[in-house]
Structure formats: structure tokens, C-alpha cells
């Protein structure tokens, strides 16, 4: 894997993504509007630390939207532009290029967290207090890794279909709901919670929220972090297997088009 290819792809991807109006909506407008909406819904809740749900929730919703409407559809976008075959047979490996795109998108999408923080501070004069900054840093790094890997899995799965746009739309809200981006997953019924805990973003969100409120039980934090990293590794293996399968299928069928 060439680092130069990875960095160059990240840079190009960030520029391309920002040029698209839909990505700009997800990156800028979505966190602002979600912050306003969630603030109005939460301000009468009586909960003192509700801003963690508002700011983190709005930021993460924006981040996930960026992933859904960009990372998940990037392979299909290359197909539409007629450049998929070129990057597939380029001397730089195909997974490296796709990984560069996904990392570029995810890093750019982290802006949503900052935008929702600024929106809350400017419009509502209620900044988010970060009680455990060092834990937050660990949680954020683990969350970025988890989102990069899950994007890679979703991108692989959507490569196999020509109905990417439909599926992109259909995975946004269900993941936000299942992973408890804006409310604790304990609100969900037990059967649904089982699905939630199989998804890595659930742990990422819980870790971020724990570090914002202040980590009182470090053991619980490290345990959740361990589970998150384990799930991320599992998803990474799944992603690698999917890429290998797609590669084989493309070589056998001698086409990058889908049925």
C-alpha cells in the first residue's frame, strides 16, 4: 500500500466531495439544522447534560449522512463517470484508492462535529463542556477508524448493485436509530438492542458520550473501546474478503458493470 497514493487520493476526494451540493448539504447545512431541531426537542427534557445528545447527535448524524451520500456511493460514482475501469487496473492497488477516498471523506466529514458545536454555542449560548478530553481523543480516533471501516464494507456491498441511490437513502436513518446517535439505545426494545450492539458505531457513540460527560469508570470505558476495536477489526476482515470476491468476480466476468 503506497502512502503517497493514499494521501493523493484523500486530497482529490476531499476536493471532489466538497464540489458536490449534496455533500455540502450533509457537511454544513445538515449539522446546523439538526442542532436546531434536536435542541428544540431536548431543551424541555429536564436533563442537565442534554447538550451531549444535541451537539454530538447532530454532528454524528451529519457525519453519517456524509458517509451514506459519499463514501457509500463512491465506487458507483466512478462507474458513472467512466473512471472505474481506469482506477481498477491502475498500478496502484484498487483497495488503496478506495481506502484513500473513504478516509478523505471521513476526515472532511468530522467538520460536522465542529459545526454543530459552533451552532449550539452561537444560537443557544450553550457550549458543550468536555469533561474528559484525553478519553475523548481516544474515543474520537476509534470512532473515525470504525466509520472508515464500516464505510468500506457498505461501499463494497453497494458496488454490487446499480440501485446504489436507493440503498444510500435507506441506510441513513436506520443506522442513526439503531446505534443511538441521539438517544441511548436502552430506549429501544431488547430484540432491537441486540442488533444495535452488533454495530460498531453504537460503541463509538457511547464512548464519545461517556468522555463528554466525564469518565467515572475507566474500566467500563476501556472495555467498550476494546469491543469497538474488535468489531472494527472484524469489519475490516469482512471488507477485505468482499474486495477479494469483487476482484475475482470482475476478472471472471471481464466487466465492472453490474447485472
Amino acid at each position: 500500500m503506497s502512502l503517497a497514493v493514499l494521501l493523493a487520493t484523500m486530497r482529490v476526494q476531499m476536493k471532489q466531495s466538497f464540489a458536490r451540493p449534496m455533500f455540502r448539504f450533509c457537511l454544513i447545512a445538515n449539522p446546523i439544522l439538526n442542532t436546531v431541531l434536536l435542541y428544540e426537542m431536548y431543551r424541555g427534557s429536564g436533563e442537565e447534560s442534554f447538550m451531549a445528545y444535541v451537539v454530538l447527535g447532530a454532528g454524528l448524524m451529519g457525519l453519517w449522512s456524509c458517509i451514506c451520500f459519499s463514501s457509500a456511493g463512491d465506487i458507483n460514482r466512478e462507474r458513472y463517470s467512466g473512471t472505474l475501469a481506469l482506477i481498477f487496473v491502475a498500478p496502484a492497488s484498487f483497495p488503496t484508492i478506495i481506502l484513500g477516498k473513504i478516509i478523505g471523506n471521513t476526515l472532511l466529514s468530522l467538520l460536522t462535529l465542529g459545526i454543530s458545536l459552533v451552532t449550539a454555542a452561537v444560537l443557544f449560548r450553550t457550549p458543550l463542556m468536555l469533561e474528559s478530553p484525553l478519553y475523548f481523543l481516544f474515543a474520537l480516533l476509534a470512532a473515525v477508524a470504525a466509520f472508515v471501516v464500516i464505510s468500506s464494507v457498505v461501499a463494497c456491498l453497494l458496488t454490487l448493485s446499480r440501485k446504489t441511490e436507493l440503498y444510500m437513502n435507506c441506510i441513513e436513518i436506520p443506522i442513526i436509530l439503531l446505534c443511538g446517535f441521539v438517544f441511548p439505545v436502552s430506549v429501544l426494545p431488547a430484540a432491537v438492542r441486540a442488533v444495535s450492539y452488533a454495530l460498531s458505531p453504537t460503541y463509538a457513540v457511547e464512548l464519545l458520550r461517556m468522555s463528554v460527560w466525564g469518565v467515572e469508570e475507566p474500566a467500563a470505558f476501556w472495555q467498550k473501546l476494546g469491543i469497538l476495536l474488535g468489531l472494527t477489526a472484524l469489519y475490516a476482515v469482512l471488507s477485505a474478503l468482499l474486495y477479494r470476491r469483487i476482484d475475482r468476480r470482475v476478472r471472471v466476468a471481464a466487466t465492472l458493470e453490474v447485472a
Binding site: 439544522l33 428544540e40 431543551r43 427534557s45 446499480r162 436513518i173 430506549v187
Partner: protein, 259 residues
Amino acid sequence: MLRRFFDQAYLYHKGRRAAFKAEEFIFHQLGYPLVTLIFYCLIASYSFRTTNLTSWVIGNAFLLCTNACIFGLGNIFVGERYYGRLRSIIASPCAKLPLILANGLFPALFAVCASVCGFLVGAWVFGVDFSGVDLGLAALTIFCAMASAACFGLFLSVFGLMNDSMHLILNVVSYLMMIFTGAEFPVAQLPPVGQAVAQLMPLTKAIAAMNALFEPGQGSFWLLLLAELATGAAYALLARAVFGFAERSARRSGRFDMF
């Protein structure tokens, strides 16, 4: 004339669903909106600390039309431009309104179905009680709300002739509808300017009328319903006026787009 209208409406519908299997199309039109309704009702149950979610089920059931009325209708001219029919539509001597209305017929029907399903799912999942409600008046309210939302969608669609960022505009509008219509939190929570904006939005009065049906004494049902119809009619007239302006501009400048 009438037969041509329905033929045209069916052709538009066929064009929209051609790429999907029936179950995919139904999931997109009904399944995904229902997951969205459940998501926002769950946020409300947690943030407002309540088990009586009638008001949120009503608001979100009405918002289910967003998918069909705002995104479906709002993209009419974007679609026509994409398929190369814009020239024929602008240049032909036939009336444009029936053509636009034909485009909106099936989305409006799906919007009504989505809203009805929203109420049924609300009753099943969140225990909304319909026993004391006049179902005829409830159906009338849904019909008026969808007509008003469809007129608003038509108004938005004309902006497809004036800019190339309709995805951005429509997504922002869908969030504005969540914030300003009283679907997610009471309009009274908004500042005075926000409350004035809320009265200009479609669905605000229909949601209030439906709430009045469930809890008599919350306002005059018929007055609210008439106000909703007047809002829809105003948007239809605005759509006609803006389209006429765009049409004249296209004929004068010899260009089909104003951007």
C-alpha cells in the same frame, strides 16, 4: 383530455419506478418513511419524557409526505432536463399546468398512503388511540394536507429552472418543515419570527387541525383546515406565476435554464 392526463400521470409513475422491483419501490415509498416516523417518535418519547406520543405520530405521519411531495415533485424539472424533455415542454403550445399536475398525481397518492400507514403504525407501535376520532374528518384532513404539500412541492419544482442545486434546496426545505410545522415540537416554542414563518409553511395548520380532532378545544378545526387549503392554493398560484416568468424568460433568451 382527461384520458391523456391519466396516461401521462401513469407514464411518469412508470418512469420513476422502472428501475426498481415492486418490493423495493414499496419499501422506498412506505418502509423507509415509517422507519423515519419511528425514529422521531422515539426521540420525542425520550426528550419530552412522555408515553403519549399522539401529537408526534400526527406530525410525523404528515411529514411522511415529504418523500413524495417534496423530493418527488421538487425534482420534476431536474428530471425533465436530465431526460431531454425540457425543450419540448417549454416550447410546446399546450398548457403546462396539467402536465405538472400529472407528474404529481402518483406521488400525491403515495403520500396519502404513507400518511395513512404512518397513523396505523403509530397506533400499533406507540398506542395512539383513534377511538374518539371522527375518521371521516381525519381522512379529509390528510387529503387537504397532502394537496397543500403537493402544491408546495410544485412551487419548489419551478426553482429547478433557476438553479442546479435542487438536492441541496429540497433537503434544506425538508428540515425546515420538521422545524417549523410543529411536527417535532410545539410551534409556540419558536421565537416570534419563527412562529410567523411556521404559518407560511404547508402542513402547520393541518397538523394543528388533526391535533384538534384528537383533543377538541385545541383550536377551530374547520378554520385550520381552510387556512391549510388557502396556503396550498397560494403556493399553487405562486408556482404558476414563477413558472410563467421562467417560461417567458426562456422564450426571450432562447435558453431553457435561468442559471
